[in-house]
């Protein structure tokens, strides 16, 4: 296999992430759980700290200098996010508390206003619970019907019957990349098919936006949801991108301050976009932190991030296969170009909890469980997997450490 060129220097990169210099159980930490949440570069921590130390104040309503400055920095972050995903206007960037809230906002606000009994929503078998349960709630409330795009045997979407599934559908909501299998889905094909069928499309970008260049115009998506904490940003912040005309027509989600134009005893009118969907005091520090994360990622270059992860994916798959042969089974597509750096695996017939526990003793952090994708787990016929996932700060030494620790795990349980 021709190994891709990796534009990123692992050592210099790691130095920017304070957590990566700590030790666990006396060994340097090997963080391989970025699909759950990423580590944060100093630039992001500093941006938030600086907000709290110099301009902390409530936004949008203060006439005094630090409140103006806070408002400016928050709205600048919105503009950074807008450009990061190629949205046309800042009105289309709505800050939420996480991607889950963004997905719920569409299901609940758009859904309640536009769906009725028998209407069809198309999902896929590889969705995260965050893109399943909100729709289940509408099944119970409204009586919509859910249809599921199946998977092929390498864990890719099987689009053979897509047009049939979309026939008469109102919504297509699918992840751009599986957080279990690593599969990167053909988003444009999906959104084109949805549009042809007269359905709106929502893309769960949680695993794709942090890892590759994103342009909502090219994706053709009506809605896109993602989380800050998986893209070098802080916890407590997510984004819903929505096409302006859809957002204009959509009823508000939460009621309160910021989202109103006028409130009387007998009713209220809503504020302009995007604030119509941002009730209450925003997550100001977190928005500013997300803006800093976007700037930081722009500095690295999203194409470099992707190239780095393709190279690391090649290395990971070949290393694990070389060292463990049939003892390991890595789920998902075999070609690195079709997948992101998420590796769910079965090893030696051991339970993922036990694998992860022993790996931890070697300071290797991987996730064990259903990864919030129980329907996919059931389809795969397993209860849980161990999952290692990489990001821009990982390098081949991390993969070597994982392999060494897996060796030790196998040994421990066959004693």
């Amino acid at each position: 296999m021709a190994v891709s060129v990796d534009p990123i220097d692992g050592t210099a990169m790691k130095a920017q992430f304070p957590l990566l210099s700590r030790e666990v159980h006396g060994k340097p930490i090997v963080y391989l759980d970025s699909a759950a949440t990423s580590q944060k570069p100093l630039a992001v921590l500093d941006a938030m700290d600086d907000y709290y130390r110099t301009i902390n104040s409530n936004v949008h309503r203060g006439v005094y200098m630090i409140a103006e400055e806070a408002t400016n920095r928050m709205e600048l972050a919105r503009a950074l996010v807008r450009d990061f995903i190629g949205a046309r206007s800042s009105s289309e960037i709505i800050f939420t508390k996480n991607a889950t809230e963004a997905l719920n906002m569409v299901a609940q606000s758009w859904g309640r206003a536009n769906l009725s009994a028998g209407d069809v929503v198309v999902l896929s078998h590889m969705e995260h619970h965050a893109n399943i349960v909100p729709w289940h709630m509408l099944v119970a409330e409204i009586g919509i019907e859910l249809r599921w795009i199946p998977l092929d045997n390498e864990g890719r979407l099987d689009l053979t019957d897509l047009d049939t599934l979309l026939n008469g559908a109102k919504v297509l909501s699918v992840t751009a990349m599986s957080n279990v299998l690593g599969t990167m889905n053909p988003v444009r094909t999906l959104t084109d098919a949805a549009r042809k069928a007269g359905a709106i499309s929502m893309i769960d970008g949680c695993q794709s936006v942090p890892h590759s260049a994103t342009n909502v115009q090219e994706l053709g998506a009506d809605f896109l949801a993602f989380s800050g904490h998986k893209m070098c940003g802080p916890t407590g912040i997510g984004v819903l991108y929505g096409r302006e005309d859809l957002l204009e027509a959509m009823p508000p989600f939460l009621g309160g301050g910021e989202m109103i134009r006028d409130v009387r005893l007998d009713g209220f009118t809503t504020n302009e976009l995007p604030w119509k969907f941002e009730a209450g005091t925003p997550a100001i520090a977190e928005i500013i932190g997300l803006g800093a994360a976007v700037e930081w990622l722009n500095g690295v270059g999203m194409d470099n991030v992707r190239a780095h992860e393709i190279a690391l994916t090649e290395y990971t798959i070949s290393t694990l296969h070389e060292r463990f042969g049939d003892r390991i089974n890595i789920h998902g597509p075999s070609s690195p170009a079709e997948r992101g750096g998420v590796f769910s695996f079965d090893f030696d017939g051991l339970h993922p909890h036990d694998i992860s526990q022993v790996l931890d003793q070697h300071a290797v952090c991987v996730r064990a469980g259903h990864h919030c994708a129980k329907p996919l787990m059931k389809l795969l016929g397993i209860g849980a997997t161990a999952r290692a996932s990489v990001y821009v700060y990982n390098d081949t030494t991390d993969i070597d450490a994982l392999a060494d620790a897996l060796d030790a795990t196998g040994a421990f349980f066959t004693l």
Binding site: N72, S90, I260
Partner: protein, 157 residues
């Protein structure tokens, strides 16, 4: 660091203390339009009498607001009274161009482009140029204008 004198020019305080065209007009024939500044609660009510071509024959202002929104409304009323739709449109664009340097910055400085402004004399309104240095107050300055635009739209609809 901009100082108070950049914001509160003497002419602004003059319009604030002695607002022009304050009052109401009978509706109908006049059109009544309300505008809100959602951030601070300022409300402006415009009464508009249109001539047969849709121009603003007469205008009155009521409502409450700060010195910037009140003086901007007062200056606007003096500037648009007796003007045709086309003239008002040009004035509005010129005024917004003066203001929106900073409205754009709010939307992300890095993409702000110069706005092409019609070549119109703004007169007294020039005094509001300093407002762009106080971004929160831009909405105060533009409130009357947005409300006027809404009124003209309603009248022509």
């Amino acid at each position: 660091m901009p100082g108070l004198e950049d914001l509160y020019r003497e002419i602004i305080l003059d319009h604030y203390r002695n607002p022009r065209n304050r009052g109401e007009l009978e509706t109908p024939p006049a059109l009544r339009v309300e505008g809100f500044n959602p951030l601070c609660g300022d409300e402006i009510v415009l009464y508009l009498d249109f001539d047969s071509n849709g121009g603003v024959a007469d205008i009155r202002i009521s409502g409450q607001g700060c010195s910037i929104s009140q003086s901007s409304a007062s200056m606007m009323s003096a500037a648009v009274k007796g003007k045709s739709v086309a003239e008002i449109d040009e004035l509005t664009r010129a005024f917004k161009a003066m203001m929106s340097i900073h409205e754009n910055t709010l939307e992300g400085a890095e993409t702000a482009e110069p706005i092409d402004a019609p070549d119109v004399k703004l007169g007294d309104l020039e005094a509001l140029r300093g407002v762009v240095k106080f971004p929160v107050r831009i909405k105060c300055a533009t409130l009357a204008w947005n409300t006027l635009a809404q009124g003209i739209e309603e009248a022509s609809a």
